[in-house]
Amino acid sequence: MTKSFDKTEWGLLLALPVLICLTFLLPAWVVNYIQVSLGTGLVALGVMIQMRAGLVSFGQGLYFCIGGYTAGLAGKFLGISDLFVLLVMGLLASVVIAFLLGFLLRRYREIFFAMLSLAVSMILFGLLSSTEELGSTDGFNLPQPTYLGWAPEGDLGETVLYVVTCVVTLGLALGLNRVLRSPLGYINEAIRENELRVEYLGTSAHRAVHITYVIAAAVSAAGGVLWAMALGHVDPEMTNWTTSGQFVFVSILAGTGNIAAPLIGTFLLEIVRVYAVEISPNTWQMILGTLMLLTIIFLPRGLWSLIASAKRKTAAPKASEIMEGN
């Protein structure tokens, strides 16, 4: 693993102060959408790093929900409201569950992986929807977050939560970028291309998939905690397959080319959703579906490929790009 920062990482580091400044410049509702989409964006990132290995998780909502509910349960029954403690608890819960489920899921590829990840997320959906102590399908509310004993109120509290969300999200994105550049990241791409050859070359594809699955789960759970804290509410819809489908949708729309793509894609989608719902509430899914079809047909590598190809025109092609046939 190289120590130096690549362009993406510099970009992420630069984005942090910019995002924080935005809270003083933009109206509160826009900042709120940024905050919410950073939370769900992390889940899309989880989907995206699995997609790098050719695995499409149609049940990433499972870990989104585990993160949110861990934070909620810890707040409700243990009285914990410290955001950092809740984040750690959410991460631990998701890592343990993902580690155990990983032994089952790592044996599957393609459609079977999609179906089985969907099945386990729907098990949790059924479980939570029928648990009346946890509000069934209505869910329940979360406490106001505190930070190492500091409990800011009102506007200050919201700003602090926003800043912490930005820091955590960009920090995790940076870490994930390192994962993609690590041997594991390259093994994943090789698995997508040809798993059998990876095995012949002496690496365990099962092990790589398992590790990737756990990492994706941890990131998604962090997104769940942040999202739940931002909204102050959790419900079983977080792990319904339609929610998971939207995470997959974002990854497809944005493309898997860059770690920032899913985060930006989530925000764009959130904005489209706001306007679509305002203009005609019953056609929002239709707009979503049409966008998705158009992306798949005309931009099979996602919106990010537009940026990537614009760059390529100015720079001399690299060997890897020639190999891709561009």
């Binding site: 089952l104 393609e110 459609i111 099945a119 386990v120 056609t283 929002w284 239709m286 798949i296």
Partner: protein
């Protein structure tokens, strides 16, 4: 004893409903290798068309008997129109793409169909109970059941038998089996694969619509029924082995009876019992009970 009877009859009812709703899905997957999420949309379209048509018809005050004709006609209309539109309009440009990508394409189509349904019929619920009660009830060991429930069981058996016969004992069906075996070779042998695809997809869509149309009198038709049925149909066909019609039947029976057992013995677990069964079966048989064997390509 009563519980056992209730589990048996309800299980059979669930199984018939699940088979009708998922057999089109497995047929389309078997022939075209497309895991069609939009199947849930066809189901919803069928349910709405049938509930709406029955509602219009019963307002005229004519005999209820004819509604049993309206149900299959509604399914046929919904399946033909939407199936042809989706296959000719979108899917045919996508053939040969990656299987997982096709899941996403059909997911996008599903989203469009969901809103199309809302645009046509609004977001209110549709109730068309008349056909379900007109036939009266029948006592099974002291428990009253609507005759309509057994009618659905009959239709499910009929559909299963018809598909089995059509596939194994007609020329077209045998050609279709060849297409399933190897698309390229059958194309080289002069079989019109594109036509087979279109016809299969429309039949699959119509079967999905039929599942919805037959269920409509028993439920209140509301937005979201498509999303609900599609995950159950997935469970059914994944358990049985995707692409196998016998598998879908077995999967429907397993899921139907286990769901009925949970409903009567431990109701809170009803919702997730289906997926629990699916996960359990897949742990033992990773590709379903009747999976088609496939060679590993290097």
């Amino acid at each position: 004893m009563l519980t056992a009877v209730a589990i048996a009859v309800d299980g059979l009812g669930f199984a018939a409903w699940l088979f009708l709703s998922s057999v089109g899905l497995t047929l389309v997957y078997g022939v075209m290798r497309i895991l069609n999420i939009a199947h849930g949309g066809f189901y919803a379209l069928g349910a709405y068309t049938s509930a709406w048509a029955i509602g219009l018809y019963t307002q005229t005050g004519s005999t209820i008997a004819l509604t049993y004709l309206i149900i299959p006609l509604a399914a046929l209309a919904a399946g033909l129109v939407s199936g042809l539109l989706v296959e000719r309009g979108i899917l045919r440009f996508m053939y040969g793409r990656d299987e997982v990508l096709m899941v996403l394409v059909t997911y996008a189509i599903f989203l469009v169909l969901e809103d199309a349904t809302k645009l046509i019929w609004g977001t209110d619920s549709y109730v068309s109970y008349q056909p379900a009660y007109w036939l009266g009830t029948i006592d099974v060991f002291g428990l009253p059941y609507t005759v309509y429930k057994f009618l659905i069981v009959g239709v499910a058996i009929l559909v299963g038998a018809a598909l089995y016969f059509a596939l194994n004992h007609t020329r077209t069906g045998k050609l279709l089996l060849v297409v399933i075996e190897d698309r390229e070779v059958s194309s080289a042998l002069g079989i019109n694969v594109t036509l087979f695809f279109t016809v299969t997809f429309v039949i699959g869509a119509t079967l999905g619509a039929l599942g919805g149309a037959l269920t409509a009198p028993e439920i209140s038709v509301v937005p979201g029924i498509g999303a609900e049925i599609i995950v159950m149909a997935f469970a059914v066909i994944v358990i049985g082995g995707m692409g196998s019609i016998g598998g879908a039947m077995l999967g429907a029976l397993i899921v139907g009876f286990s769901r009925a057992a949970f409903v009567h013995l431990y109701p809170p677990a009803e919702l997730f019992s289906i997926y629990l069964v699916m996960a359990a079966v897949l742990t033992v048989k990773p590709y379903g009970l009747f999976a088609l064997s496939e060679s590993r390509k290097i």
